[in-house]
Symmetry: C2
Subunit: 351 residues, 2 copies
């Protein structure tokens, strides 16, 4: 058994960079040895953790003791930093969104192939319990044939006050949160995406989008709504999934929600109910005996699996969890989202 | 003061027709005197109410004592029945959807103008308390500038088992429920509709749609999502409305829901929260002191106002509540919805 401990340097020691540092304390195969960050306060914070502080990025690349570069800088810098690291013989863990566009992803994939060094994107929200619970319900066919999924995050604080406001740095909610929601959606629905209709919002007056609403269709007819909002004072559910025999809803990260499944043919015709100023038979609830409500399934998972899988990928002992082809597909999809919003048209694809 | 009591004959004494009969018992200016229905069981039921039973529709038209014809037959028959009634000197109350297409509405509007007889569509869901509460919140600017509205009804019983399954009779959920939701949406947002993207569902295998998802944009940038579902075992809220300073949600016809408004600038930067497998600052909740949650406002209204307004319209003493131009606009919008679904494209309009 290989017991090499890989030395990792964090480039960009902000919120995400320092969070990686904390998580890696409990990952036996990787040791954080250093940090490079241009901000003095962050250098201070890193020094307090006992990390070596690099003067410039070239010094990281030149250090033969460094095996892995972890990139947690603003989005526009991921591409050059990654390319340089791969060419300097380092493996790369990169924060999401991987790159600014699909061409950059392709260039990085080439560099990774040419150098033999591993490039993997930290799509950490594949380990969210809410997503894993929905994936389990879909995979186990608990709702019958699923035909529609809604995946959303709603906040009311606008965009955080830093580079995420800047278009040139890769700001905006599509790149920030959309990338997660699309990543997971494409794992839930393996079919090809055939069309995208998107409306980005610019309510807060920034140059970047402060929210997205994207309607997708898949080969075979499944549909999805993906939504990110930063001006929503009441949050709609994280997940809403409908199948022929049931519906699942997860309201929040505390896993509030329910699964409603239909047990048997409800042979009695509906009795109209009073609804507002009218009667409705169509919208009358089913009798309780035919629908069972259960809590959302709880899933155990370990976010450290990402790092262990990265080591296994370096050593060639396991299939990688986050594939670069998946990252390329998400980036291509997000380009279609931008295009649909810009043109006001549906973008048809075979993705 | 005019105290003429108008004689009304119900044509089509099914669920809606008989409901009109019951409501009109408490409307002093209109008396239901007769019924025409081709089904014997319904003739029996009408006879038991003391109504005169007409042998055929021509007999209704020929009866000089009849002032008003109320049409509650399947949708495809509204047009010929209405034209005949107007030409026979009768005023007409017509169930929704008024007609099968906008051309039929235009023909009826012409006939009404030529004969001087009143034609009014029973858009009864303008009196729904949930709609009236949302209208009040929007009109009184409680949420600040509103930029997005979602209006939906979710059931899980499929389409009721009668002519509503038939395409040629005007079945399907767009015509049945969509017509209400669009009617109210266009009253909430007075701006012109500039684009429509629609996806109808045919999950249950009927020749008519069993659900709709329609995304609209309005001049000035407001957006709306209108949704009808008949395969939803968990219902999403009837209303979800977001403005710059707040959000309102009404969950169901019992008026469960809340209004969340933002009182003051929340000057403190957000503290990241743990959300699933990651941290988020963007989606961290606002501190409680800056957001106030209140119940949904309750509205008193009287569904009989429709009938009294119909009488006032005949007598020329009030502005009509349901205008035929509005009905024409909804029908034109629904044609765009069908077109968008059929072509898979966005339909651009200036409606």
């Amino acid at each position: 058994m290989n017991d090499k401990i890989y030395s990792l340097v964090i480039v960009g020691y902000g919120g995400m960079g320092s969070q990686h540092g904390r998580k890696l304390e409990n990952v036996s195969r990787i040791k954080v040895t250093g940090v490079f960050d241009i901000k003095e306060a962050r250098q201070e914070a890193a020094r307090a953790q006992g990390y070596k502080i690099y003067e410039d990025y070239q010094a990281v690349l030149d250090d033969p003791s460094v095996d892995i570069v972890l990139i947690a800088t603003p989005n526009d810098s991921h591409h050059p930093i990654t390319i340089q690291a791969l060419n300097a013989g380092k493996h790369v863990i990169c924060e999401k969104p991987a790159m600014m566009n699909s061409q950059e992803v392709e260039e990085v994939m080439s560099a990774s192939a040419q150098t033999g060094n591993v490039f993997m994107v930290h799509q950490n929200r594949r380990w969210d319990e809410d997503y894993l619970a929905i994936k389990k319900l879909v995979d186990e066919n608990v709702l019958g044939e699923v035909f529609h999924v809604e995946s959303r995050v709603h906040g009311s604080r606008g965009i955080p006050g830093d580079w995420r406001h800047d278009l040139n740095r890769g700001g905006g909610m599509l790149l920030d949160w959309g990338v997660h929601l699309f990543d997971r959606l494409l794992l839930l629905f393996p079919q090809k995406v055939t069309s995208v209709y998107a409306k980005l919002s610019y309510i807060l007056g920034h140059e970047v989008d402060d929210g997205i609403k994207v309607f997708l269709t898949f080969e075979g007819g499944r549909t999805a709504l993906v939504e990110v909002g930063t001006t929503n004072f009441i949050a709609l559910p994280l997940w809403y999934v409908t199948g022929l025999n049931g519906t699942a809803m997860i309201e929040d990260w505390d896993m509030n929600g329910k699964v409603a499944t239909w047990d048997q043919a409800d042979t009695k015709d509906a009795v109209p109910i009073v609804a507002g100023a009218g009667l409705t038979k169509t919208m009358a609830p089913r009798s309780e005996s035919t629908v069972t409500e259960t809590p959302v399934p709880r899933i155990e998972c370990d976010v450290r699996d990402f790092y262990y899988n990265f080591v296994d990928t370096i050593e060639g002992t396991a299939d990688r969890i986050v594939k670069n082809e998946e990252v390329l597909r998400i980036m291509t999809l997000m380009e279609a989202v931008f295009e649909s919003d810009r043109t006001g048209q549906v973008v048809h694809l075979n993705l």
